[in-house]
Symmetry: C2
Subunit: 156 residues, 2 copies
DNA sequence: TATTGTTATACTCTATAACTATA
DNA sequence: TATAGTTATAGAGTATAACAATA
């Protein structure tokens, strides 16, 4: 009931919510990622696609879309751009001509190598305030929380 | 180099990146939030606005926009909707007639009370897999990480 | 001149539904 | 019939720039 007019407003219960912290964190982490990789024109999503294709040559579009949580129709324009940049190749499958076997081009491979180094620097910066033990702990807690959400309290 | 064609693809280095886990977590947390509050037609952002206005009656638009990390022009359509739903009131300030003093309507107050209960349930579900000590630890680590990113390594 | 809220506009990301070509 | 990729389209959500009213 205090009549705030200037200075940073009272955020109420927001700072006690996980979702609030996750969002703040994600905004900052995204900004840092972007700062490091903007001149390679790589977003986190695109880096993820390149990384997955490197490890799964011949992967087709639908399972790739599922892996990154996109509708298969939403993946199309993303791949169009990557193909136009000569980073990814679509090759009609011989065994099932409906599907495209995806792969990284040599240029895509090369860019991925550079990108990984930058992502490592970004990662080191993001986790810079944490000790190795704290970093492990953070991953453990995030993983545990996520696992608990995917497989909820076996009903009541 | 293994010719993956089916099953879930290999995610490479992605699971070792904080950003990846944050994004996955945020997607799941957002889905759970939505499931709990969709019939109140409240998104996390809108809940945040209501909560902030409750604690800062008379706040004007520009500082509110800053508080939630939006451009002041992006806040306008959001407030338009809330005003149309009779949750928020804009009142021309007497001291500075350029600015609008914002406040929750009685309906807005009432909705906020209901929303807070649901958010608490959502929060309990999200953190369900963690013990109280682990929850405290998670908050501590998220806060520490965020603080380290805002005030980076005092240059070199 | 600078600031508050607003408008006009555009861009990104995403989804749904319908289409095509295969299977 | 069902599936893989595509297209057309639409809806959020956001930003930038320019404007009117006010300071």
């Amino acid at each position: 009931m205090t009549e705030k007019t200037s200075t940073a407003p009272d955020l109420g219960c927001l700072p006690s919510l996980v979702g609030y912290h996750l969002r703040m964190m994600q905004v900052m982490v995204f900004k840092d990622f972007n700062r490091e990789l903007v001149d390679l024109e790589l977003t986190p999503a695109v880096f993820g696609v390149l990384e997955i294709l490197h490890h799964n040559p011949g992967l087709t579009q639908t399972p790739l879309a599922n892996a990154i949580g996109l509708d298969r129709s939403s993946l199309v324009p993303l791949l169009d751009k990557l193909q136009k940049r000569d980073l990814v190749a679509r090759e009609a499958s011989v065994t099932d001509r409906r599907s495209n076997r995806l792969s990284l081009t040599p240029l895509g491979q090369q860019l991925l190598i550079e990108a990984r180094q930058r992502v490592a620097r970004h990662e080191a910066r993001v986790l810079g305030a944490l000790s190795p033990a704290e970093t492990r702990q953070l991953f453990k807690l995030l993983t545990k929380t996520a696992a608990g959400l995917t497989a909820p309290t076996t009903a009541s």
